[in-house]
Amino acid sequence: MRYFNQNSRNQFLISVLATVFISIVCYSLSNLIGYRTVALILLATVSMLAIFFSVYPVLLAATLSALIWDYFFIPPHFTLHVQNSDDVLMLMMYFIIALINGVLTSKVRGLEKLELQKEERQNTIKLYKTLFDSLSHELRTPIATIVGASDNLLHKDSNISENDKSLLVDEISIAAFRLNRLIDNLLNMQRLESGMLKIKPDWCEVNDLINNAVNRLKLELSNRNLQIDIQEDLSIIKLDVGLIDQALFNLLHNESLYTPIGSTISISAKLINGILNLCISDNGKGFSDEELKSLFIKFYRSSAKTTGGTGLGLSIVKGFVEAHGGKVKVENNIPHGAKFTLEIPVEVLNLDDYKEFSSADLNN
């Protein structure tokens, strides 16, 4: 919106400047060219502007150039008064042509826009088709598990061992939580898409942020080697805890899906010049060049992955971090594996302000 306003302000400015500039050039040449030729040159200028700019700056240029032409070029000079009836007609014609110019181009522009919208709509339809394809797969797999497992358990004559029974119950539980994660991701995507996402920053400790995400994935990460390295005395910072928590959760959940069992997953946090640097890396397989480029695109699914997924997780990470004015980077780890870095500009609490405050109230 701000871009648009600034852009349209620039258009007005350029229209005025161009008109004035051409007028000055014509005025200096007024001994060589007649004032009617000047009208044509000015008209050409307005037409040029009409090709690039929207209707209002063009109308402004048209009006301005008509006035300039009248005042400086039509005899008697330096007055808006027009003697000759021919010139009155010329002036009127000039104005009408300039107007038509502006209106016509804005119409063409409108048609172009419509065409663009149509194309966008088709892209959206394609996108939704991809979404629904992956969604129906993602929804049906856990549902199939639940239906199948509960059928097995309900079947009275079957002689499943107690151990197998508890395995089936585990599967039902895993499937249900998978469905729940999917719904979380869909809701988050919807928040991003609708433009309704407003970040609500609050003070938090980075420890808490990382612990929370890790604890929620305790089970999934139980057979990976976790290394958490948080910068000593990392201060209290301000960010939207809910969103960054979800971003970390999505990244760590991916780690649990796509790294081989026994992999080492490192989480590090440091603060560099007011930018919180959260890094999650592993020693798994890493990505191909093509994957590195497309990873954060919505619905993108890496071809190498056989496990299900909607391709929403990482685009949510990107969206939530960018909502903070931050950046997400992915690269291959050395010697191998993947490395995701979140760079989030944050407000940092100056602990010195509170040191005196807290020592002042020593009670004994």
Partner: protein, 231 residues
Amino acid sequence: MDLKTNILIIDDEGQIRKLLEITLNSNDYHAQSASTAREGITMAVVHPPELIILDLGLPDEDGQVVLRKLREWYLGAIIILSVRSSEEDIVKALDNGANDYLTKPFRTGELLARIRTALRQTQNVTQIQKLEFENLVIDLTSRTVTLDNEPLKLTATEYSLLTLLAKNDGRVLTHQYILRSIWGPGYTQQSQYLRVFVGQLRKKIEPNPNNPKFILTESGIGYRFCTKIDD
């Protein structure tokens, strides 16, 4: 004579009611359920239970309103069980007097633990003089705190914060509630004070301040003092 603890479930979803009834009854509680706010409030009035499990999305009235209505007279424990998971909803419910909040889907083990904690809070009205948590002991009469039998030097604010959290062992206290209780009503937006003091307190009482076991963070909501949940 039925001596089991009575729990009332107010939830419009039949599947959830059934699940809760089975879970609670098989854990030695006596569960009854209502499917609307109206029915639930009537049942609570006629035969007040020890604990109410309340859903926020009821067909006839907003759960937060039901919660406020119940809290006008009901002194027992109320646990919110809802699909609404936004921090605002949770904070609002806790401020409206809910003892705890659990979002659907939930683990039944977690629910049972929360029920035990909530029941303990509402039943424990006797004056406590000493709070003991493993190696951490708070003596409320002499205002001293010891860790592994070593006295801890706490500032007045740190002590108030610790006792407030510890007295509400197992219960989530919202940031606003803690700020209001310790610093006063003018400070409810100054959440940085709380972060600073929790950080200091953790350094003094936690064996590993980076991964605390006493003062737990409820992301975006508040803090919960750990409770030895027997699960």
